[in-house]
């Protein structure tokens, strides 16, 4: 009976790998690390790099992860992979963009109100035109 453990590699958008493996090698924040069955509970972050898994037949399979987390528990190991390359400054830029969109929207509020005002005026004008047309039709008949 081969000794294996369950490994799941998942990203926020999809599941990448799931199965029982013999061992795995990943690039941790502090260096390469290998996990074999019976490893102590461990939680570590991963650097962008490859994750190589070996199943009990000795077949190897490699995945690229752009960072993430590795969690080892008795009998089950999970890799929570990031989908995108993460860097603090990139995140920061995205946050600023979102804030600016909100501010622009607040500044735009006046124009929005004017727009709804104009829309209601237009609706009124259209209604008046319709009644006029109806009256004309009647008069024509």
């Amino acid at each position: 009976m081969p000794i294996t453990f369950q490994l799941d590699i998942v990203s926020a958008e999809k599941s990448i790998f799931s199965g029982s493996v013999d061992s795995l090698v990943a690039t941790g924040e502090l260096g390469e690390l290998g996990i074999s069955p019976g490893h102590a509970p461990l939680l570590t972050s991963l650097k962008p790099g490859t994750v190589t898994v070996k199943d009990h037949e000795g077949k190897e399979e490699s995945f690229y992860v752009s960072g993430g987390m590795l969690e080892v528990q008795p009998h089950i190991t999970t890799i929570l992979a990031d989908t995108a390359t993460r860097a603090d400054d990139v995140d920061e830029a995205a946050a600023i963009a979102a804030k600016e969109a909100a501010e622009a929207a607040m500044a735009d509020q006046n124009s929005e109100i004017e727009y709804s005002k104009a829309a209601s005026e237009l609706a009124e004008a259209v209604a008046q035109l319709r009644t006029l047309q109806a009256i004309r039709k009647k008069a024509g008949k």
Partner: protein, 264 residues
């Protein structure tokens, strides 16, 4: 009584409308199927990360993260997920109604609100309605990526870190089935402890490099994945709701045509 020719033109124009609505129905149906697949695909990550967080909360950890600790609530953040486009029945309206009831209750307790809006419908609604909008994003399309959401989520998380908000909610539609979509309000922060009794014994992880840094990253990822799931869920709801609305419109057009044909 309208003349024959007028009725015929009317029938023609309604037939055109019917063609459009039935086309929209079919498009929505196929998009819904894709959105449902995407929804399924996000589940494993969310489940896994939830169980890791659950273990962390249960395990005897040496470090308590601010995201886990409850604090007195003075100001609350809302992340509202809406659709970008209309013509999807009462989907957005129901969601806003539910959010507003909740917000009113909070305001009665003199708790202030910060809003983070995803989707242009929410943007348009709260522009008219008012509210302190701190972050906003729209135009995510049918297949959003986590990258699209990082910015908005980070704004709210920073606000939480700085103590500007003491609680964070996610409001989105939950896909029950094609006919039923339910607006949901979910508490994101502080992270609620799960009732799991499996792990009674106290144990702790080996942390590499150290617990604080890892938990920081993990909890941020957790919140992001929750919001992402909310968004994907909402897209499936949008398509389902549009499909139903367009089906109703097509049927109604058919009824009107029948009636007009009788008049003819």
């Amino acid at each position: 009584m309208a003349v024959g020719k007028e009725i015929r033109t009317k029938i023609g124009s309604i037939k055109n409308t019917q063609k459009i609505t039935s086309a929209m129905e079919m498009v929505a149906a196929s998009k819904m199927r894709k959105a449902q697949d995407r929804m399924e695909a996000t589940k494993p990550y969310a489940d896994k990360i939830r169980s890791v967080i659950g273990h962390l909360a249960m395990g005897h950890t040496e470090y308590k993260h601010p995201y886990i600790i409850e604090r007195e609530v003075k100001r609350v953040g809302f992340i509202l997920v809406s659709s970008d486009r209309g013509l999807c029945g009462g989907l957005n309206t129901n969601l806003f109604k539910k959010a507003l009831t909740e917000m009113k209750q909070l305001q009665e307790q003199e708790i202030e609100l910060d809003l983070c809006l995803i989707g242009s419908k929410a943007g348009a609604f709260f522009n008219r309605f008012g509210g302190n909008i701190v972050a906003k994003t729209h135009g995510l399309g049918d297949a959003p990526t986590v990258t699209d959401l990082i910015g908005t989520v980070k704004v709210m998380l920073e606000a939480y870190d700085q103590g500007k908000i003491d609680k964070l909610y996610l409001v989105h539609n939950e896909f029950v089935n094609t006919m039923v979509q339910e607006p949901q309000i979910l508490q994101l922060l502080p992270v609620e402890k799960q009732q799991e009794d499996e792990l009674k014994h106290h144990w702790d992880y080996i942390y590499e490099p150290d617990a604080k840094e890892l938990l920081d990253v993990l909890l941020v990822r957790y919140i992001e994945s929750q919001v992402y799931q909310g968004v994907v869920d909402n897209i499936a709801c949008e398509q389902a709701s549009r499909m139903v609305a367009m089906k109703a419109a097509t049927d109604n057009a058919g009824d009107i045509i029948d009636e007009l044909q009788l008049n003819l």
